[in-house]
């Protein structure tokens, strides 16, 4: 099986690996360079657990042919502060917006992309931004509330 060299920036650090032909970015992140924060939920593009940012744009790493990120920047939840001090992380913790935690890294990346392009989204914009990310545990409401909280739009009407 052919292997190709691949160089890209991951959370600001240069990475150089050999990848198998046809490999997706998710497998390269997880097994090639050891960033385990992007999760494999379906490898079909349907769950969003593997969402990363590619040059700042949200992308499904399972559907991204790894070689297409040559020379580009990839951001994962692994680039978020390890102490949970990012406002989104803090809001997810405060709103109990995670249960099993498997969808959380993808949710955080989808929300990061939204807030970078739209710092003060309304609820409808948050719903759209998260619409490609499935959460089986929370019923979405705490996640939406957490993102709105960071956006300064209040916590979703909690009494």
């Amino acid at each position: 099986m052919a292997r190709k060299p691949l160089q890209f920036r991951l959370n600001g650090a240069e990475k150089a690996v050999f990848v198998e032909d046809g490999a997706n970015l998710l497998d390269v992140l997880r097994r090639g360079v050891g960033d385990l924060t992007a999760k494999r939920g379906c490898a079909q593009g349907g769950c969003g657990a593997c969402t990363v940012l590619i040059d700042g744009v949200p992308g499904l790493s399972c559907l991204t042919l790894a070689e297409t990120v040559e020379g580009r920047s990839v951001a994962t939840a692994g680039g978020l502060p390890g102490d949970g001090s990012h406002p989104l992380q803090e809001a997810f913790m405060a709103h109990f917006a995670a249960q099993c935690g498997f969808c959380t890294p993808g949710m955080l990346m989808a929300a990061t992309a939204l807030l970078e392009s739209t710092p003060h989204p309304d609820r409808n914009q948050v719903v759209h931004a998260l619409s490609g990310n499935i959460c089986r545990c929370t019923g979405y409401e705490p996640i939406i509330a957490a993102v709105l909280d960071v956006a300064g739009e209040g916590g979703g009407g909690r009494s």
Binding site: G46, C137, T138, G139, P142
Partner: protein
């Protein structure tokens, strides 16, 4: 086109723990040299909050701050036996096992403190903030850390405890079904408000009002997580999900999340919740376990609301637009019920 409003009600109870009992769980508690505690379980945290609930139960029982407790789950070399995380048994069974283990460790900690303070251990109490006082004389105290250190380094005692909780297995009578299925029940009642489009059969849940009785909310936010997420899943079962959309025919079984539908963030209904707490006599601090029962009442409540809205009784889940539309056609149109 007419969009009809409808309102449905349902009430349920739910058995806590594995049916018939016979499902023990165990816990091991021990203090490090400085009075920080580790709990070893083989129970699983699959999102329901096992680690967090047992941590609070252990801290309450030990009488130490929750920060002084860490729960480690599921290493078969170090964790004692647990039946598993299912059947709403985690809080009830594992929580009780943790209490037993924590009480044993607490007693050793208090004995060490008693020796240090030269009092009787029966006269000591913990304040939950890391201190052990002589009852009625708060000035005479020792920290839980110092007590644990003394136990290990001066008295040669482990500050540790073992716990198991078991409800013995019940027999089942073949002729009458007589048995002891469970020891306690959680309860819920729920009102669903829906709208039904009588041209497309589409059902939208507009509002949910609910009351859930959970025994004791060990952690109110974790209970809320279960109730909100569980009601979402129940709504999903009611209106969306099936692996076999042509059941019993096996064709068109979904293999991805495009075809296996669940409500998206744009489909969620406002849900206003009341939580009732009638402690279970045998539950840990009265706790039951809300994780499964919370998904159940909304399914029939939605079915009943659809009937109230348009007079179509869908008896097979999920209540798809197609089933509602077929019912409307069979009835010759919508037959709205009384407004409630």
């Amino acid at each position: 086109m007419t969009v009809h409003r409808g309102r449905g009600f349902a009430a349920i109870n739910y058995p806590i723990g594995m049916n018939l009992g016979g499902d023990p769980s165990q816990a091991l508690v021990h203090s490090g040299p400085d009075g920080k505690f580790a709990i070893a379980l083989s129970s699983i945290d699959l999102g329901q909050g096992m680690k967090s609930v047992t941590r609070q139960i252990a801290a309450e029982t030990l009488g130490v701050p929750v920060e002084d407790v860490y729960v480690d789950t599921a290493d078969s070399d170090t964790g004692p036996h647990c039946m598993g995380s299912f059947a709403s048994r985690g809080t009830h069974r594992v929580g009780n096992a943790v209490i037993v283990a924590a009480k044993e460790a607490r007693a050793i900690m208090l004995e060490a403190a008693a020796e240090e303070l030269e009092v009787n251990a029966d006269d000591l109490e913990t304040d939950g903030r890391g201190n052990i006082h002589v009852r009625g004389a708060p000035g005479r105290s020792i920290t839980t850390g110092d007590a644990c250190q003394a136990a290990q380094f001066r008295h040669g005692k482990t500050v540790a405890g073992r716990g198991i909780f078991l409800i013995p297995l019940s027999e089942v009578d073949p002729e009458t079904g007589e048995m002891t299925p469970v020891s306690c029940y959680a309860h819920a009642a729920l009102v669903a408000d829906v709208t039904v489009d009588d041209e497309t059969g589409e059902v939208t849940v507009e509002q949910v009002n609910s009351a859930y009785e959970v025994g004791r909310a060990i952690n109110p936010r974790l209970v809320e997580q279960q109730l909100v997420g569980g009601a979402w899943m129940g709504l999903s079962h009611a209106l969306f999900e099936t692996t076999e959309p042509r059941y019993p025919d096996r064709s068109h079984g979904p293999v991805d999340f495009s075809q296996y539908t669940m409500p998206g963030p744009g489909d969620i209904a406002r849900h206003d919740i009341a939580i009732l707490e009638r402690p279970a006599p045998d539950g840990p601090f009265g706790g039951k376990g809300p994780g499964e029962m919370c998904a159940n009442p909304i399914m029939p409540a939605i079915a009943n609301a659809v009937f109230n809205a348009v007079g179509v009784r869908v008896t097979a889940l999920p209540i798809t637009p197609e089933k509602v539309l077929r019912g409307l056609k069979a009835n010759g149109g919508a037959r709205p019920g009384p407004r409630r």
